[in-house]
């Protein structure tokens, strides 16, 4: 790793000021993505601003039909939270299936959403549930937030403070994990809000996306059979040594069906 200065921030304001004062500075949350990236010399920040201990970034609460999770909340905390399990059990399940126990003991929801890895789990939940990403400056709707591979609507120097999830009537997540890393080869987060059903697919494409044909069919009849005759358009999906576009399209459909089947339970 190239050398850098490490600073432990104690407030959002201090962290944001440090970012503004140092063009090459980066925020450090759980470090489960950023530290490996720096070791591989794919990032060479001048400063790392550690936000893990900032009190304003922690906390999980439900109020008026909305679940709010602080950006520095660790995957392990979301997976075990009684509040999350009661409000959106699918989100606790998702967090409990990220990577491995040691990764979940450090990695955070804010880091995952800021990084927006095309195979990460949380982006599918945020997009399907229609979450709001609250930053130090503004509120961003999930539909506007995700902008393709590792790209988000965040400006330079902008920081996620918390994420607000509307509590759905029902939701379920299913992923086909890559056997080595645990990242999604394809994952589907399905949620029902009144008559509306939203389906977000991660892992299969260059970024998380909504499968709108499935949403329409499931809105008419919420059953796995409703997507049987549909196919995810494979033309824009990822293709690599682990799987072809067509294979990923099929996986996305199978994961959607499994998630729908799980909704009833």
């Amino acid at each position: 790793m190239h050398s850098f200065s490490y600073v432990k921030a104690t407030s959002v304001k201090q962290a944001v000021d440090l970012l503004a004062a140092n063009a090459e500075a980066k925020l450090l949350s759980g470090g489960m993505t950023l530290i490996p990236t720096m070791k591989a010399r794919l990032a060479q920040p001048s400063h790392l601003i550690d936000i893990a201990g900032i009190a304003e970034l922690s906390g999980i609460e439900v109020k008026d039909g909305k679940l709010t999770i602080g950006a520095a909340t660790k995957h392990v905390e979301v997976s075990r939270s009684a509040v999350v399990k009661k409000a959106i059990p699918a989100l606790a399940y998702l967090a409990g299936h990220i990577g491995d126990p040691q990764v979940r003991n450090r990695g955070t929801i804010g880091g995952s959403l800021a990084n927006n890895d095309p195979a990460a789990d949380y982006p599918s939940a945020a997009l399907s549930l229609g979450a709001t990403i609250v930053t130090n400056k503004r509120e961003i709707a999930a539909d506007d937030y995700f902008q393709g591979m590792f790209a988000t609507a965040l400006d330079a120097g902008e920081m996620i403070v918390k994420i607000v999830f509307p509590v759905p009537a029902k939701a379920a997540y299913e992923k086909f994990p890559h056997p080595a890393s645990g990242y999604a080869m394809a994952g589907a987060f399905v949620s029902q809000h009144g008559k509306t059903v939203r389906v977000a697919i991660t892992g299969a494409g260059p970024g998380v996306f909504r499968w709108t044909e499935a949403e329409a069919a499931l809105g008419k009849k919420l059953a796995a059979a409703s997507v049987e005759s549909l196919n995810v358009d494979a033309s824009n999906l990822n293709e690599d040594m682990h799987g072809t576009k067509e294979y990923r399209a099929n996986l996305a459909k199978v994961m959607t069906k499994r998630a729908v089947a799980k909704l009833g339970k």
């Binding site: 190239h2 490490y6 470090g31 530290i35 591989a40 491995d100 450090r106 890393s181």
Partner: protein, 155 residues
């Protein structure tokens, strides 16, 4: 340079290290505790697993600065004098190692997840060990050892 003060295996330490120092290097090179191994150095294999404030983490992916003020336990801190920790004892009795390189990390990971789940099913043991790789692929005896340790610890 940064001053890092932390407790390792019950003993208070203070080190002046470069900001880019990884916790695993602080443990191995500065505290001279070489039981914690560097395997892949890419957060995959878990050979560097230690406990930070009681929780299993991969010390190759934590900066020394992030561990400032922390309470660290490494494999050297597991036995009480001559008495092995029940997980160490079970690994010995079940022959849960071949070359032994992954063993310190395995033991730290296992003792970590047994705290949260003292009676794991086979499936839960597999999931609990997802962050640790054994290049000798001696997983069958490792799983046996986890079950034996769980039994011994619940007595």
């Amino acid at each position: 340079m940064a001053k890092v003060e932390l407790k390792i295996n019950g003993k208070q330490h203070s080190f002046d290290v470069e900001d880019r120092t990884l916790l695993v290097n602080l443990i191995r090179d500065h505290a001279q505790l070489t039981g914690t191994h560097v395997g892949c150095d890419t957060s995959q294999c878990g050979a560097c697993t230690i406990h930070m404030n009681g929780v299993a983490v991969k010390s190759c992916t934590v900066l020394a600065g992030q561990a400032n003020g922390a309470d660290i336990t490494t494999i050297e801190g597991m036995a009480k004098g001559d008495k092995l920790h029940p997980v160490q004892q079970a690994f010995t009795e079940c022959h849960a190692l071949q070359c032994g390189f992954c063993t310190p990390g395995m033991i730290m990971a296992v003792s970590g997840f047994l705290k949260d789940n003292p009676k794991p099913t086979d499936e839960e043991i597999y999931r609990g060990l997802e962050g640790n790789l054994c290049r000798c692929t001696g997983y069958i005896n490792i799983v046996k050892a986890v079950k034996q340790a769980a039994k011994a610890m619940s007595k």
